[in-house]
């Protein structure tokens, strides 16, 4: 007779709902959702968290995060989060935004939320493309990168240059913590988790505005396999968008 020993080594975090993600195979939204969710549990703030989701691939995030959620209009999540935080200062408030939402149509809102030092946390997914609408050119699309609205590759003479959001916001006195991370390897996933923890901890401690930019993969619109997509982050995106800490006024060790 044999005895089966069962041990749970991995399970869904309570901060994610029992829902099937709509994201494409190989998309990194699922990884980042999990990291954010775990962070909220680790910091024991899930029951006072209010998330604001964008217009873009993460528009349905209100179905996934197991906390109060608000769906914002395109680009305005930092303004909505400001309204929530000012009305209810003891809530932990985060926005979850893509590059089109945050760096194109929502550029004014993110800059001013950062300049005010608004005590919120911004999770910024940079995959250099508009996903939900079908792979169009984003403000973060790199020179020469082919998209459905730059079919011959992004031409700077026609469409200008990609925007480095974290560097741009780092020129302001308002932000407390700004960092750029990637999810291209297990090591970097863990580093992203540590960055998210620091960002949310800063908010919990009332230290002000935090933003974690995450270089993320979009196999569908990059026309690459999931594995090649992660490789492309390392080979191409990192050069234009170097990971690292740009602002840290948290005072944490």
């Amino acid at each position: 007779m044999t005895t089966m020993l069962e041990e749970t080594v991995f399970s869904r975090t309570e901060a994610l709902c029992d829902m099937r993600f709509h994201y494409c195979p190989g998309c990194a939204h699922g990884i980042v959702h999990r990291l954010v969710a775990e962070t909220l549990v680790d910091l024991k703030v899930l029951d006072r968290t209010v998330g604001v989701c964008p217009v873009g691939c993460a528009v349905f995030a209100y179905d996934y995060f197991n906390c109060d959620m608000i769906q914002a209009s395109h680009g305005r999540a930092p303004a909505v989060a400001t309204g929530v935080k000012r009305a209810c200062p003891d809530a932990v408030v985060f926005t979850y935004q893509g590059d089109g939402d945050l760096a194109s149509i929502g550029m004014a809102e993110i800059v001013h939320a950062a300049a005010r030092g608004e005590n919120i946390t911004v999770v910024f997914i940079n995959n250099a493309v508009y996903g939900m609408t079908g792979g169009q050119m984003a403000p973060t699309t790199m020179i020469g990168q082919q998209t459905t609205t730059s079919p011959l590759g992004r031409d700077p003479g026609l469409a200008g240059y990609p925007i480095r959001v974290s560097e741009l916001l780092a020129t302001l006195d308002g932000p407390t913590y700004i960092t750029r991370q990637t999810i291209a390897s297990p090591k970097e996933v863990l580093a992203t988790k540590r960055a998210l923890t620091r960002a949310f901890q800063a908010q919990v401690d009332g230290k002000g505005f935090s933003l974690v930019e995450i270089l993320s993969s979009c196999p569908t619109w990059w026309a690459k396999t999931p594995k090649d997509s992660l490789q492309w982050i390392e080979s191409t995106m990192r050069g234009i968008y170097p990971p690292g800490v740009l602002v840290d006024r948290t005072g944490y060790a």
């Binding site: 006072r48 209010v50 000012r86």
Partner: protein, 356 residues
Amino acid sequence: MKMNTRVLMKGNEALCHAALDAGCFCFFGYPITPQNQVPEYLSLLMPQHGRVFLQAESEVAAINMVYGAASTGVRVMTSSSSPGISLKQEGISYLTGAELPAVIVNVMRGGPGLGNIAPSQADYFQATRGGGHGDYRTLVLAPSSVQEMYDLTRDAFDLAEKYRNPVMILTDAIQGQMMEPMTITRDPLPVPAPLPWGTRGTRKGSRTIINSLFIVAEELEKQNQRLQAKYDQMAREDLRWQEEELAEAEVAIVAYGSAARVCRTAIRLLREQGVRVGMFRPITLFPFPSDALRAVGERMKLLFTVELSAGQMLDDVRLALEGRCPIGFYGRTGGVVPTPEEVAEALLAKMRELGI
């Protein structure tokens, strides 16, 4: 301010006190003439009362801050003037789609485009037809005195919560800037407890999702039907209008807001000449008091609409009457305010044309 207090103040200041006395917890705004007294006044008053004032980076940001604060279940207001209200329209559409209560003030100025800063009523269509995208309406209140700037703004917060729908105070540069005596008719309310469904975390006992996305067509249609049912309820329960000197009248002027003030003087001039004229003044512009106006129109020889526009409420007057009574119109645009004499002369000309 305490009940029965008698004060002299500007309309813009009266609506600030009304917001404060209604327990408004947050105000978000952006500078634009002729409503600047509102954010200026509240930037001092709100913090003094332990409440939130924030100058946003744009009208777009301001209305989205309203969306966020309203989501948490507190009373919230924003104010602007015509071009700024245009910028807020997407946000107003989202507020109605997500069924959030909020008070939005439009101190109208001349348009289109940058227009000017003079009084106008040219945003009637925008205010009463929805203004943004989608099949929605806002409840629209049109004050005609500093007293009503206070009273209707107090009511606006209750109506917004009753319907979980934005309520607009549609006023203009005259109402905002002029000073009049007014009496505080109700005691101030303390800031009420946040509404139970507010997004303040699941610690309240349940999970709240604030959303206007219904990806399945049949579900979005159901949401639209819920909204339409609310608008029907507004028309049953919250119509407001005022009838003045209509008992013996054969002609009725239809006017709201500042135009009604000019018309009141015109009516005095006309009555001195023996013309039997009175006034029907809509106070809710949406829902429009159509049945009441039809009942008045059916016993008149002429309904004469006067607006500071090229004729916008005129459409609602025509729709209410459905041809039951001749309808005339006089309007000035671009910020020009007609004199009572001009209005009287225009009305007399129309009466001559109709052989009245």
